[in-house]
């Protein structure tokens, strides 16, 4: 811990005086616009350090129209997807020397209001996990005319917005391949609601994978639900009610549902993973340790840090390029293999 000294009211003029140069030179050296690392540069930096100088962003922003801040709009934080991402973005933004201005909006209207707010504070760029994309995307496209905008995760295609995320198709492919390799020949699907685009994309990808990976499924084995242990339990109970015939594996949207599914299997006397394997689409703490009797769930982990790094790099780099085609950065999810799909040796 340091000496607790805080920036006093020292301005660029003081630094200039101490270093024996003009304010313009100080500005150029400290902002990096003067690359040379000669005696003069060192003198300026030394003076700045000695005086504990830090730039007044208000003055800087007023003159240069750059505020050194990035707006981040997320739907909510009580959701591990969004909180993980926010937690990954904060250090990335700080690493880029910027400030993170946070806005939370769970509807398109709220998100638009928050965006207007951060815009009125002249943020340099906007990173957003959009909701109700059909409403918010047109607005985002108008925003993108002013500042760089990066969309995260959402599967909405826009030829005017940058995008960083993962492919739901890849997620499903990784899981289906793994279940097949692990020995399962049939699979049930308990997905999140199909209200949103991501849910639909996942379900479509599931069907596509059936053919490819040699797994089979049945209409009675396909269900959609809100995430909860209870509904996972009830749905799985229903699936298992036909005693002559049960799936050799289950794909669940989330950890809570998986816990319910597991309990239903246990209650029906089916052993996991020997007789039935369980895989989860979205990783969470529950998949790793949220169960008991030493069960844990194989799941797909999203590369939060890389998504965050890509997003920040994109908005930082984009400051320059005036005319451009939108970037799409698709990152690879990672399968975390746990006890629910493989027999421990």
């Amino acid at each position: 811990m340091s000496q607790h000294s805080l920036g006093d009211d020292v301005s660029i003029a003081n630094v200039a005086a101490v270093a024996g140069v003009s304010t313009a030179t100080v500005s150029r050296v400290l902002s990096g616009r003067r690359r040379k690392d000669d005696d003069l540069s060192r003198r300026v930096r030394a003076a700045a350090k000695q005086l504990n100088y830090s730039v007044n962003y208000a003055a800087s922003a007023l003159r240069s129209a750059k505020t050194n801040s990035i707006g981040l709009i997320v739907p909510e934080l009580n959701n591990s997807l969004y909180s993980s991402l926010t937690q990954a973005i904060e250090p990335a933004v700080n690493h880029a020397g910027k400030q993170l201005i946070l806005g939370i909006g769970s509807t398109a209207a709220e998100q638009e209001q928050r965006i207007r707010l951060v815009l009125s504070h002249r943020v340099d760029a906007l990173i957003i996990i959009p909701v109700e994309t059909e409403f918010i995307v047109p607005f985002l496209e108008t925003v993108a005319k002013q500042i760089p905008v990066v969309q995260l995760l959402s599967q909405t295609y826009s030829n005017k917005l940058d995008w960083v995320g993962i492919s739901e198709t890849t997620v499903m492919q990784i899981i289906a391949d793994h279940l097949s390799t692990a020995g399962a020949r049939s699979v049930a699907y308990i997905g999140s609601s199909t209200d949103d685009l991501d849910g639909m994309t996942l379900f479509t990808a599931f069907h596509m994978q059936m053919t490819v990976s040699g797994l089979s499924t049945y209409t009675e084995w396909i269900h959609f639900t809100q995430e909860s242990v209870d509904s996972g339990y009830r749905i799985m109970q229903k699936i298992l009610s036909d005693h002559s015939f049960y799936p050799e594996s289950v794909i669940c949207s989330d950890g809570l549902t998986a816990v319910g599914v597991y309990r239903a299997c246990a209650a029906a006397g089916l052993s996991v993973p020997e007789e039935i394997k369980i895989a989860v689409l979205h990783d969470s703490a529950l998949c790793e340790n949220g169960t008991f009797e030493s069960v844990s769930f194989t799941s797909v982990q999203l590369p939060w840090d890389r998504i965050a790094a890509e997003a920040v790099t994109l908005v930082a780099a984009e400051q320059e390029r005036k005319s451009w085609l939108p970037s799409r950065r698709e990152l690879e999810p990672e399968l975390i293999i746990r006890k629910s799909t493989v027999v421990s040796s």
Copy 2:
């Protein structure tokens, strides 16, 4: 959704011209420094609206040294305590017409670095959930000389910092009273580690409540652990290994532990809540629906929105008062009674 018009480059001078007054008057009217709501005021406001004017905060900040932004420093977001609080603070800050600048730091050193960063952006105030308080509090006290600082949740006493939170003693009292009223005469305690002050405060409060509420406990029934289903299960199994003698209730620090405890009870053939009652100190989604077989856990819910509102009110109000004694606002937690402590009728 509105017409997607974004603030153009209209300045106070344009508004002044349209309204037929000076820029000074426009500034006074729009900033609320001129209270009167006469024809002149209306004319200015109409002109501002017509031109879609929004103040340039950089210019405003440069002149007035107020940036209309508040810094929030939290330890992390993958923890429901902190993410709930952040989610509650964001709307409160926005409601106050300010921007929220977020910093995440899980150590005192990281928090200090983030604080310096937001300070260099001249935030008007700081709200912080401190970690390693013995290290960070002295630094916070120096910060408090410059801008209002409100500490949240932490139990650290400082005669220089404002504080908003809840009393751990009250939490324990509410739970012990409830268990006693529900018919339990003895209780086990599975707390979080005693490394931090909060854990120690809770445990001390637990002991105090034993006498007051007429509950009894035993050394063998008291354990400390990291939150996980597995450790809850193992600890409870150990407690129940003496078959002649078991507690009529259990207080757990969190939902994961409670799930493990419940499983151990079920495995031992003890029915919840009839033979043994389970209560949780920190509410989470798991307490409400994270279990199966229709069990849910009685727990204590913190008044997030009120904590957030108090914190924001405090830093906003404090702008004025130059000499002051620190405020301490202690809010009441609420007991959420669920199936783990009362027999359903």
